[in-house]
Structures are given as structure tokens and as C-alpha cells.
Symmetry: C2
Subunit: 405 residues, 2 copies
């Protein structure tokens, strides 16, 4: 069976490598069909690459090849990936992708187009890299009402936080190390500001609750405000700081969804997710908590998820997946600050007297070298709006949500 790969970067070249390295086992898993790479689309040149005869700079070489039935889109970005994917689906080709930005922004249109044309649009690799997440949520947990999801969805920030927690590095030092190791880009904005995690939250929320959630609907806070002082206070109560994407079911017509640093206590499965690893915890009304852990990025892990989707397309070429991913709504994602109650970690330039008069009960934390005019504490559960009201007039240094996952 002929396939094509669009985008020969890290993931795209990994897709070709995984297909070639598994040419003996793939037919066993497709029911007899092999996957043969017929075209590789990339505008760049790859001198010396052994696939020279397969390269093209012309998208229409793929679109017009009637023998190509499955295409891997590993270009990234919304344009031109969206236009290419639409044309391929309309031409009756299935498309599989690792492109979370495209799925988060255009998933609904692409899934509808796939359905209309009797083909598949699959994106297991777009959340959690190599970790199986999409199928488990949509199939294995189908007999549950999902109550909430919390995920460590970005490996770069988890590596930086791990280095801060375990090695006492500052944010800047840890970011530099992540860049040196190739975990962070030269411009790390999409990772450290939480945008990458936000896209994955959108995909998870759309799948779990059936309405498209867009990145603009998900309030997103990165990890650049986390200091070693915060790490130290939270360590004193057996907690760690993780960048979490959180989704909570409220009603048929509303959910909460946000990305932010969060305090996770030891004992949670999410607390022991270190370095560049990712994990997604799903809470169902029947199953309780299940958690999926693994490499959230990386060439071969991500590529293996893309190829698994291709194997699925090849195996069931006559059949399309039903995702139940419907249209979004403007007020569907509520302002969590007004309605979700939780405890908060607060660090402030204040005295206990000031804090005690603002809060009925708090748990004070301490750290080595704590200045006499600094306090840190964990509040009772309340909304973030209420917290802000109580902190009015107090010079706050940092606020971090405390998760119940």
C-alpha cells in the first residue's frame, strides 16, 4: 500500500525510519498490507539522504497519485498543512498527523471532511507523542462519563521543573540545559508559556466532551514565574510543581479548561513523572483514575504513534472512526476563576497577622533562608476570584493552584 509523508523534519524522518525498520511486522498488523513510502514532501533539500528518489517539492505529486491512500502530515503549523490536509481528505485519502496546532485549531472541519469523504483523520501522535491516549479515551473509557482530565503535556517544561526541583537549578539555568540537550527550542516561548500544552488540552477536551474547544478559550499560564523559593516551600509539604493542563466537566453545556503550574502532592501518579516524560490522568465515573505515562515527544516515539495510525487506516480501509467531536460554542468553556474551587499556594510579602485576618484558616509553609517579611501558605478551597479579593492590599509574590489529582 503506497503512502506519503509531508514534512521531513524530526517526526517525518522518524516516520520513514519506523516504517522501514518494521517492514517485517507491519503486514502482520494490517492483515497483510505493507506500507511503502512513495513520496516525501519537503521544500528543503536533503543531500545524501538515501530516499533521494522519493523527494518532491510539489504537493500535487501526492494529491494526484491515486495509489497513495494514506498520508502522514508531519509539517507542523496551521498553514499550509490545513489546506493540504483538506485537499487530501477531499480526494479520498486518509491523513494521520502529529500536528497538534492544526488539530487544536481545525480538528472539527478536518474530521467532518474526512467523514464526508469516507476516510480517516487520525491524530494519536498529537497528544502525548508516543503515549497511547486518544484511543484509550475514546474507546476503552467509552462506558464512563469523564469527570476530569489532568495532564503533564509538555516535556520541555517538565524537564525544566524537574531540574529546579531535583538539582536546585534556577529557571534560566534549567532552560539553558534544556536547550543544550535539544529539549527546548532557541525560542522556547510555545513551551514555557504553556501554548503547546494548551493545544493538547483543546484536543483532549474536544474528544472527551464532544465539543470543539479552541486555544483562545483555554486560559494559559506558563512556568516563567516559578522560583526556587516556591519549589522549596512546596517541597516542605511533600509536593512538587508541575505544569498541568486541567479539564473539568461541569455540565452538558459547560466545562472548565486551563493550563497553569500546579502543586501536586507525592502519592499522585503525576508527581513521579520526571524529566521530559508526559502523563495524562483521566478520572471516569465508573473506572476512577487511570493514568497513561510515557515519552511525550521525541523522534521515534512520536513517529511510532503516527505509523500506528497508518497501520489502523490500512487495516480498516473501509471504515471510518467515530470520534463524536462536535462544533464548539462561545460560552462552553466557563471562566474557571469564578466557579472552580480549589486550594491555593500563596507566597507574599506579609505578616501572619495580615494573612490571619484575611483568611479563616491557612497552612503555613517554611523554607531554609526564609526572610522575616515573607510568608507562604496553602489556603482552604475557594475560587480564584475569592482568593484575589482576600489578598487585596497584600503584596503577593506568587500564586499556584493546588490540584486534586
Amino acid at each position: 500500500m503506497k503512502i506519503a509523508v509531508m514534512g521531513y523534519g524530526t517526526v517525518g524522518s522518524g516516520v520513514v525510519e519506523v516504517i522501514e525498520a518494521h517492514s517485517d511486522v507491519i503486514p502482520k498488523r494490517t492483515g497483510g498490507k505493507s506500507l511503502e513510502v512513495a513520496h516525501i514532501l519537503d521544500l528543503r533539500d536533503f543531500p545524501g539522504d538515501s530516499h533521494a528518489s522519493l523527494f518532491t517539492k510539489d504537493f500535487y505529486d501526492i494529491l494526484n497519485d491515486d495509489e497513495v491512500k494514506i498520508v502522514a502530515e508531519t509539517m507542523g503549523g496551521v498553514n499550509p498543512a490545513f489546506d493540504f490536509t483538506m485537499k487530501l481528505l477531499q480526494a479520498g485519502k486518509s491523513v494521520v498527523t502529529s500536528n497538534k496546532e492544526l488539530v487544536a485549531h481545525k480538528g472539527l472541519e478536518l474530521l467532518e471532511t474526512a467523514e464526508k469523504n469516507g476516510v480517516n483523520y487520525l491524530f494519536e501522535a498529537s497528544v502525548g507523542g508516543g503515549i497511547p491516549i486518544i484511543r484509550p479515551i475514546t474507546q476503552c473509557l467509552a462506558a464512563n462519563n469523564i469527570e476530569g482530565i489532568a495532564g503533564i503535556l509538555n516535556g520541555t517544561t517538565n524537564f525544566i521543573l524537574t531540574m529546579m526541583i531535583e538539582k536546585g537549578m534556577s529557571f534560566d539555568e534549567a532552560l539553558k540545559l534544556a536547550q543544550d540537550k535539544g529539549y527546548a527550542e532557541k525560542d522556547p516561548t510555545a513551551d514555557v508559556q504553556g501554548h503547546d500544552a494548551c493545544r493538547k488540552v483543546c484536543i483532549l477536551a474536544s474528544l472527551a466532551f464532544g465539543k470543539h474547544v479552541y486555544p483562545s478559550q483555554v486560559e494559559t499560564e506558563g512556568i516563567t514565574n516559578i522560583s526556587l523559593e516556591d519549589v522549596s516551600y512546596i517541597n516542605s509539604v511533600d509536593g512538587v510543581i508541575k505544569l498541568l493542563g486541567q479539564i473539568k466537566y461541569i455540565s452538558e453545556d459547560s466545562i472548565a479548561a486551563f493550563v497553569s503550574p500546579a502543586v501536586v502532592y507525592h502519592g499522585s501518579q503525576l508527581a513521579s513523572v520526571h524529566d521530559v516524560f508526559n502523563a495524562v490522568l483521566v478520572r471516569g465515573d465508573a473506572v476512577g483514575d487511570v493514568c497513561f505515562y510515557g515519552p511525550g515527544a521525541g523522534k521515534l516515539p512520536t513517529a511510532s504513534a503516527v505509523v500506528a495510525d497508518m497501520i489502523d487506516c490500512a487495516k480498516h480501509s473501509d471504515r471510518k472512526k467515530i470520534f463524536g467531536w462536535g462544533a464548539g460554542e462561545e460560552d462552553y468553556v466557563v471562566d474557571y476563576k469564578a466557579c472552580i474551587k480549589m486550594p491555593f499556594y500563596v507566597r507574599a510579602k506579609a505578616t501572619c497577622t495580615q494573612i490571619n485576618s484575611a483568611f479563616s484558616e491557612v497552612k503555613y509553609l517554611s523554607r531554609k533562608g526564609q526572610p522575616s517579611d515573607e510568608v507562604a501558605f496553602i489556603t482552604d478551597i475557594m475560587t480564584e476570584n475569592e482568593l484575589k479579593k482576600r489578598l487585596d492590599g497584600i503584596p503577593v509574590l506568587n500564586i499556584i493552584k493546588v490540584t486534586n489529582y
Copy 2:
């Protein structure tokens, strides 16, 4: 769509409960079909149960009802579940099950019969209760050669070990507590001797490597020999003892598979799996390590996995799953003691001088209250046969494998 449930015990009654509690969402996930419980087979009486009109003691009420297309087998045991399941599949009905004993012993015949009759035999609930494992391994990791699997596959023993490790309870005290909490049966043999974990190892090995592995081929050791002394020594090197099912790929024609207590170091995802929770770690050549965590047993978690399989059958009634689960072979599972090298934990009545003359290098452990004639140590990697040869003449108190997962 009419369905039937065979066996109204914990899981079977859970299946009925999960179907009823999710009657609004199930049609959204099947593409429009609801699941309607038409018969419940059980030889017992359930006076006062609200499903009185559905009960039958006659299997043929289900077999002969042409409108019943999907049956949940939650009876447990090989007989008469095997006979019933065969007849149902031959009659063109799909069967889903939580019955690990039946799948481990008769999976191949049942899958072949299902395939021949164009129906499905699904068993997501048979390994890991509510944790999605079967689909992730067979679908999401399809682009990997699986190198090995290690799992905490039995909640009862994990609870007992957790109580020994965290609360300092003896094995007997912890077992008693597990029985009081309903986690362990009155006769706990199948759990504490590892037989339950062994069946799940068989299912995982058969799925991952394509040849039926039978319980008799899997050397199985339970946790009854684990003492608080062992727990204490291993704690001193940041390790914990877990009952692990381990499977290792050797070649196309051979694997190793065994169930035994194992030392797991902190840092492994398996080390932080506490109480009755289960986890399965899969190592793939492309993806690396992925891990699935959740409740490995329990009424509603297990039932939700059974119902998810029913939803899958209802959604794709025209299609059968390809598992690639072929016939077993006598010498397929090798004697791991002769060929798998690993480090071992050893506790013995001996002196360091004796140990030093038997082993070129060991790491000694210590514990509070250690008697002067007792040593405990961790060896270099070697086969178990070699270990036994070296320990010849030394009065050994316990030996525990050290895992590399």
C-alpha cells in the same frame, strides 16, 4: 440493541449498573445504538433485585434469542464459560469477557471461532480491570517491536506488599486486612501464589508476541516468602518489592515469561503503584517505555471495561478485530533461569567472607536489628542458575529478582 449478561456476581451486576447509568451516553458512542439488557443468566436467586424479569437459569434462553447480538461473560472459571462462549460465537453472537482464566487457557480457540463466524471475542477487562491495556498494546503500539513487558497485575498482592512496606505489617496481618476490606478472598491462594497474575501474563504475552502462552508455561512464584526483613533491606537501597509479571522477547521463536516478587527501584513508574492499583509497563523499540496505571479490579472499573468492549461491538457490528494471536508451541517459553541475566537480592545466614569468596562483586545492604550472622546483598547480573551454583552450600533465607523496569 439487545445484550445478555452471563454471571451476576460482582462484575456482572456492575455491567448491568454501568449500562443503566450510561444509557444517555452509550448511543452517542455506538453511532446511535443503545444497549438493552434482555437476559441475565445466573443459577442463584436474587430476591428483591429490580431486574427480576430478566433472570434466567437456562443458557439456551440467551443462545436462542436471535435478537441478542452481544453477550457479556462474567462468570469466571473455564467451565461452563468455555462451552457457553463457544456456542454463542458459533451462533454469530459477539462475546466480551472479564474472565482471565478462560482467555489464558482457551483464548486461541475462542478467537479462531469468533473469526470463523464473523463476530468478535473481546477481553479488555481480563487484564488490568479498568485500565486500558489490550487496545493500546495491539493498536497504539502496532509500529513497535515490543521488547518486554512488566506489570503489577494483581491488586490483592500489591495491597499486601504496600501494607508491609508502608505500615510495617507482617504478611499475615496484611493479608487479614486485605480480607477484611474485601480485597482478598477467604481462600487467597490464586492471588498470593501468583496464579491470577500468571493468567494475565499469558494474555499479555499472547497478544504482544503472537503465540498463545499457557499458564503451565509460565513459572510462577507468589509473595508468601516475603518477610519484613527483606522489605527493610531493600528499602535501604531505595527499592520496594512488587509482585511482577515479566515478559521478555528473545527471538521470533522464543520468549521468557515469569511471575515473581521483584525489587523495583524508586524512579521506576512501577515503584509508585500503591495499594490495590495495577500498572503495566511496555517497552517498545521505537516508543521506549510507556506505562498504563489504574484500578486493576473492582466492580465498576472492571464492568466499565466490559461495557466499553460491548460499545465497540455495537459500533462496528460488521467488523472483526484482528489480534494476531496464533497457536502456541511447546518450547516457545524458554527456561528463564538458564538464559535471562539480572541482578539478584540475596539474604542468607552467612559471613561476608563466605559471600566474597562466592561472588566477585556484591553490594551489601543493612537493616536495623540485623543479626550478626545474617547478610543481605545485591549481586551483579547473572542467570539464576549461575546464582544458585554460587550459593551452593550457603544457607539462603530468600532470593528476589531485581528488575530493570
